[in-house]
Symmetry: C2
Amino acid sequence: MSVTAPKGFRAAGVAAGLKPSGRPDVALVVNDGPSDAAAAVFTTNRVQAAPVQWTRQALADGRLRAVVLNSGGANACTGPDGFADTHFTAEHVAKALDLGAGDVGICSTGLIGVRLPMDLLLNGVTRTVAQLSADGGPAAAEAIRTTDTVSKQAVRLSADGAVTVGGMAKGAAMLAPSLATMLVVVTTDAVADAATLHRVVSEATRLTFERIDSDGCLSTNDTVLLLASGASGVTLAEAELTALVTDVCMDLGKQMIGDAEGATKDIAITIKGAASEDDALEVGRAVARNNLLKCALYGKDPNWGRVLAAIGTTKAAFEPDELDVAMNGVWVCKAGAPGESRDLVDLSGREIAIVADLHAGTAEATIWTNDLTDGYVYENSAYST
Amino acid sequence: MSVTAPKGFRAAGVAAGLKPSGRPDVALVVNDGPSDAAAAVFTTNRVQAAPVQWTRQALADGRLRAVVLNSGGANACTGPDGFADTHFTAEHVAKALDLGAGDVGICSTGLIGVRLPMDLLLNGVTRTVAQLSADGGPAAAEAIRTTDTVSKQAVRLSADGAVTVGGMAKGAAMLAPSLATMLVVVTTDAVADAATLHRVVSEATRLTFERIDSDGCLSTNDTVLLLASGASGVTLAEAELTALVTDVCMDLGKQMIGDAEGATKDIAITIKGAASEDDALEVGRAVARNNLLKCALYGKDPNWGRVLAAIGTTKAAFEPDELDVAMNGVWVCKAGAPGESRDLVDLSGREIAIVADLHAGTAEATIWTNDLTDGYVYENSAYST
């Protein structure tokens, strides 16, 4: 049920013809309230798509009633005309729903540098309005897919069952901190003000999407939206709401890594013994971005030297001759030198766990990534995405 | 003739059995003087191979009489035993040539985390000593190849023909600043002291190898050595010597990019209109490391949005709506929005020129890279390298 699992939300998804494949490509999520509090995290890329610029403005008052999402075109690097297209789309939705344009967020994904076919898009938007329903979450999740092979949805309930958090995501490449490239809409029927939601979505993103790094590339369109209808009438402790939203985001994030373009391995890189969490994250990201390591893991080769070479590029606190590295439980590197035999490492499964101990402190963090494969090259070279 | 083109140098290369393929894998370069001034630039990776640690020490006095280079094993992450292996190799060469061990530099390349088979290596070194000759440069260049499909050599003469600079290089992946991953030995018969040579090799490297970025990975073994025999009896102006050495390094660097693993495109990324050279370099490197762009170029797809997405990740001075981007002469992006039609761009040839104008100043720099292909994935996944 994804975004329509919590009370107070309706959604829809239709095929508007933006995708040459004819698959669904326009989604609409509406918050019927009583509250319309909302918050978001956006890409840190300085080149930001028109919908990111628009939605940031629309959210300035901490309120959002509806979100239009389209695949089939990112509307990024499209200049003032592209921004006008986004503005016009918001006006169009607002009119149909009897809202102000500033109550409508917009998210787009697809090829950069191409204007959207506005006639097709607006026609699709009109049809989503007509099809809005309280069980439209899956259809909306379907319509935001790009190269995703499956739609991504997640739902969690609070301990007492009184509050629901639901989410949908798209993202299968250009996953990078911060953020992993993606469009994400998370909804809840909890009662929460915009300031609380902002803290919640920021913390959840920091612990999940910002620690996913599929290919080191940072998109122009990344958006994580959190909408609260308040329809449950229940106010959770902020910590519990944060935990629920984080759980939904982690679930969605793992679905994205599992579906990353061409990937055959899901790789968790845990850095232990770091002097600080920042050090652990810096080292984890450096390892996750090492193309040579990612190719080796695709080839089921426990080439731990590439882990050390990646660690050595960072500014984190460590001594090279104190580094330990384990691959799937085998400590192939001890004190910066060969440890247990690499022949003991079994990399035949999809899950790979790499642990590096810096022996410089007690902080720890995990970054999730995947392997680099000919499938990735094919998906990103054979056609424009 | 590479390293033996200048007067005062002998070299040799033999097959010692370090490589399973049976190809040549041990090289020796000897400087017969009268001078033995030398300087080097080493990898900035904090995880440094034993031969890097050794050669840095040996060069502390600004002198080097001989250099042993081996492929078939990097001797990196091998602990104190690996360092002892390097030390012992230097002692072995020194004894055969009637030198001190501190007169001998060592360079190794190959798999990380594995000890070298010392009996094979020392036997090979003994044979290189026996085969040293004034025309042994090509044999030495052949013996340092790893996945290089051809040996890399270059020679330049000073304007009056009195001074010669020669060089050899190996490197076909893990090319990253700073340095591009490589072993390079440059020789000259110019008269120059170690301090001058240090300035010359640093500047030449800064302008060439540090601006090559094949796959963003930084090796544990990168070494660029410059040896001066003084056998010509001629002292060049430092600027002329720098220009000659830079020319040789650029030639070798372009040979490396042209032979990068699996590459089908040689890509020059020029950043113009930057507020500073550092800004231009930061932006150029960000573009050169964008896997999505590199895949698109492999697919001959002028996907300029990926250039802007990469630029947007940097801290360089620019405004997103002022960015211009050209691909092979076609300005596909003007003022951050679509410019000339991408259909006009011809990416069918091997050479691709990308120019981005930041409109933030007058500084400019070029980074050289290549595309990301299934061939690269294959070479780095199918076996340990």
